[in-house]
Amino acid sequence: MTDKASEPLLALSNVNTFYGQAQVHFDLSITVGRGHIVCLLGGNASGKSTTMKIILGLVKPRSGDVTFDGASLLGLTTPQIVRRGIASVPEARRLFADMSVRENILMGAFVRNDRDTVAQDLDKMLTLFPKLGQRLSQRAGSLSGGEQQMVAMARALMSRPRMIVMDEPTMGLSPLYVDRVLELIRTINQEGVSVFMVEQNASLALEIAHEAYVLQTGKIVLSGPARALKDDPRVRDAYLGGSEAA
């Protein structure tokens, strides 16, 4: 018997993805350990967001496998994958703009059927994100970017996920909110939720991540403990697109 705790929670192995003729991922392999924060760094058009979509089942790879807790996700639809325990904070938040903040947060619990505990969890979100308390009946679309990010994170937590995937959680936020969001990710993680995040902002992401991968035009060019990558000049080179720099 293998020790389950040492198995990764999420593993992408040798994933090749295509949009029509264009190949997006080349033999992509990524693992997210239990209880870890893993971030995927990369510039524009490196295939970061597609990696998110692959995990969530919004895009299906042509070859390779995606496993969560040892079971493949490939045959599953997005709602089924969500029910397995993966929640998401999509790029640009994607709140339900015309629904209230309360409704948005409760939408996160859509896959749950335990009404009473859902209500308790809503209260818990309000302690974690105290600012949202006064905003509950407001239209979600009327909030500021930072507040919307809070709603998106609360919404993701409401499904009691084992893992949250986040697409550029700090994008477009004021510096104040960026720190707040990073801190919250850490808090969420300390409560036992694994986090897989896609980021452009390498220095910030490496602050809180355990491991990191650097993606360049669909290939992993660097990976390792975040601490080690933090000072690695090759991370910067990878961003600037230096041809053989990596």
């Binding site: 969530l56 919004l58 639809t77 997005t78 709602p79 969500v82 029910r83 929640a87 998401s88 999509p90 994607r94 709140l95 339900f96 703009a97 015309d98 629904m99 409704e103 409760l106 939408m107 996160g108 859509f110 896959v111 679309g141 919404r155 499904s159």
Partner: protein, 607 residues
């Protein structure tokens, strides 16, 4: 003499009926960004199921309503599951075209089952009128109002308090995000189609009882009215659809009060065009609302067009040119003449819908303009027929382009709706402008085709004339598309924002396409008028517009040779297989459905 209060009551009751249709359309548009052109067919099915229940099964009224709602909902679920779900990943306009095909099929099935003759649908309610102020109101009015209000209330409770209702709202605001919350979008679609169909079916039954008559023409009318109400209220906006419907009912009712019954629909479509042009997001859309997704109106399935060598085209043209010299029957020539006339219309539509990406659903209006111009010129002013036909083409080009130009700034589905409405408006103007068009009587005794003083009466000469005109138009269109104009057209079709950013004037190129296309269609209509010798406002109807669309999709959108091949195939094959006329529309609907599903690029490929 009815009082204004009576017209107001009538407007609100009719508005309630429209609301039942429009709310369903709004729900479906909200979730799938689709305008469901089959909604009217479900309404029709509801009316006939109601007839079966009342007249043959003698069900009491409450049971009738339940039977109709359930049966219609089942039809809706079948449409969603087998007609639309397979198209989830195809181009945006594909589901819209599929719903058109489905509506053809459903309408024809109803017609074949129940015969096209109108039937009486008794209301089962006592025929009394109560005095209210200066007007009167009957039990059926109250029933319709009651059903409308109850449905609105139930819908509100469903959307606001049930889990599935939340899922519907979430999916309509952000489909992907809803999926990431675990919402099964297929189930949401099912729910929405079931609800929309139940409401639509009940609406059809109530209308049948209101007018004590049902017939198959109800279907298209209901779809059109529902679409008008929905767009007026703002596509996808459920409360907006209710208000839009009541507004539409009132506008129509007051319009009828002032101008007479035959103006009812004219007001509906003018309201639609005005709203589309001034506030395409509807009367109640606030500025914050993002415009609906760029539904770039193309149905261009990427494909490599089949290259037909020049010599093969020449050989084919030569064979068709000398065909009358062989002992072929009059019947074959007649069929091919029809194909050539349809081919001209298809050339026009394939240019507009295929090359420029403006999927027109009202192309028959161009035929009508050409036909009426040519017929009236030759009859009233003794203009030689050949010249009159050219004038018909020019008039179609000018008037057609002028009519469509206000909607040049629309895209995707909205272009289709606007062209559909303009098509209806043209037909209604012809109906009502009696001093010029002779109104419902139509124009008879139109002189036969003639050229330079020689009458073209023999089938051979008519055949050659129409064939040559079509070939010339096709060659001109080929030249046009081969020039830089063709490239500009395709650029606008593929990405109008990028095209504009590169300095292309969209209006100018769209106008050019409609001018050229309008001319070809007008000439076709003109020839048809002299061939038939009698035309009226229904000679060139929406069915022809859809037939033309099926032809160009069959041939491959934008494909000049394809348009002609498609016309020959769709006119010729039913003849070859000797399919009875009443099944043809059914076949066209099925062909459209199969094409959209399995070969969106058509026979010869899109260009």
């Amino acid at each position: 003499m009815s009082s204004w209060l009576d017209y107001t009551i009538n407007g609100l009751i009719v508005g309630n009926v429209y609301a039942l249709v429009a709310v369903g359309l709004a729900l479906i548009f909200g979730v799938s960004r689709l305008i469901n052109f089959a909604q009217g067919s479900i309404y029709l099915v509801g009316a006939y199921i109601g007839w079966v229940a009342v007249v043959q099964l003698h069900t009491p009224l409450p049971l009738t309503i339940i039977v109709v709602a359930v049966a219609a909902a089942i039809v809706g679920l079948i449409i969603e599951r087998f007609g639309l779900r397979p198209l989830q990943n195809s181009v945006r306009i594909a589901p819209l075209l599929a719903t058109i095909g489905i509506s053809f099929v459903l309408d024809q099935l109803v017609m074949l089952t129940f015969s096209p003759n109108p039937r009486a649908l008794p209301s089962q309610l006592p025929d009394v009128r109560f005095q209210v102020g200066g007007g009167t109101i009957g039990p059926l009015d109250l029933l319709i109002a009651g059903v409308g209000l109850t449905s609105a209330l139930l819908l509100f409770v469903f959307l606001r308090y049930s889990k599935l209702g939340w899922a519907v709202r979430a999916a309509s605001q952000d489909r992907d995000a809803a999926m990431q919350m675990g919402v099964d979008v297929n189930r949401v679609n099912q729910a929405v189609f079931g609800i929309a169909a139940a409401l639509g079916g009940v609406s059809g039954m109530l209308v049948g009882m209101y007018y004590n008559q049902i017939d198959t023409a109800m279907s298209l009318q209901a779809t059109l009215k529902g679409v008008v109400a929905e767009v007026v209220g703002g596509a996808g906006n459920v409360p907006g659809a209710v208000i839009g419907s009541l507004l539409l009912g009132l506008v129509e009712s007051y319009g009828v009060a002032v101008f007479g019954t035959s103006y009812r629909n004219l007001f509906a479509f003018l309201l639609l065009v005005v709203v589309l042009v001034l506030r395409p997001n509807g009367l109640f859309a606030s500025a914050r609302q993002a415009p609906p997704e760029p539904l770039t109106g193309t149905f261009i399935a990427p494909s490599r067009p089949v290259r037909i060598p020049r010599w093969a085209l020449l050989v084919a043209a030569a064979i068709f040119a000398i065909l009358p010299l062989f002992p072929v029957s009059f019947y074959v020539l007649q069929t091919l003449i029809n194909a050539w006339l349809l081919g001209m219309l298809a050339l026009s539509l394939t240019l507009v819908a295929g090359s420029v990406g403006q999927v027109s659903l009202g192309h028959a209006a161009l035929l009508a303009i050409g036909a009426y111009t040519s017929a009236l010129l030759s009859l009233n002013f003794s203009v030689p027929v050949g010249f009159a036909i050219i004038c018909g083409g020019l008039m179609s080009a000018a008037l057609g382009t002028a009519l469509i130009s206000p909607s040049f700034r629309l895209r995707g589905h909205y272009v289709s709706i606007a062209t559909l409405a303009i098509g209806e408006i043209v037909s209604l103007v012809i109906l009502n402008w009696e001093s010029v068009t002779r109104g419902p009587i139509g124009i008879s005794g139109i002189p036969p085709l003639s050229l330079f003083g020689y009458d073209l009466i023999s089938p051979n000469s008519i055949y050659w004339f129409s064939f040559v005109v079509m070939v010339v138009l096709a060659l001109l269109q080929g030249r046009l598309l081969g020039s830089h104009l063709g490239r500009s057209f395709r650029a606008i079709r593929d990405d109008d924002i990028a095209a504009r950013a590169y300095g292309l004037s969209l209006n100018r190129y769209k106008s050019l396409a409609f001018i050229f296309g309008g001319f070809a269609a007008g000439v076709s209509g003109g020839i048809a008028a002299h061939l038939y010798s009698y035309i009226n406002h229904e000679t060139f109807n929406t069915q022809q517009s859809i037939l033309a669309l099926t032809v160009v999709i069959l041939g491959g959108l934008g494909n000049v040779v394809g348009a002609i091949v498609g016309a020959v195939a769709l006119v010729g094959l039913p003849e070859v297989f000797r399919i009875a006329a009443e099944y043809r529309i059914l076949i066209y609907g099925i062909v459209l459905l199969l094409l959209v599903r399995f070969r969106p690029q058509g026979l010869l490929g899109t260009m």
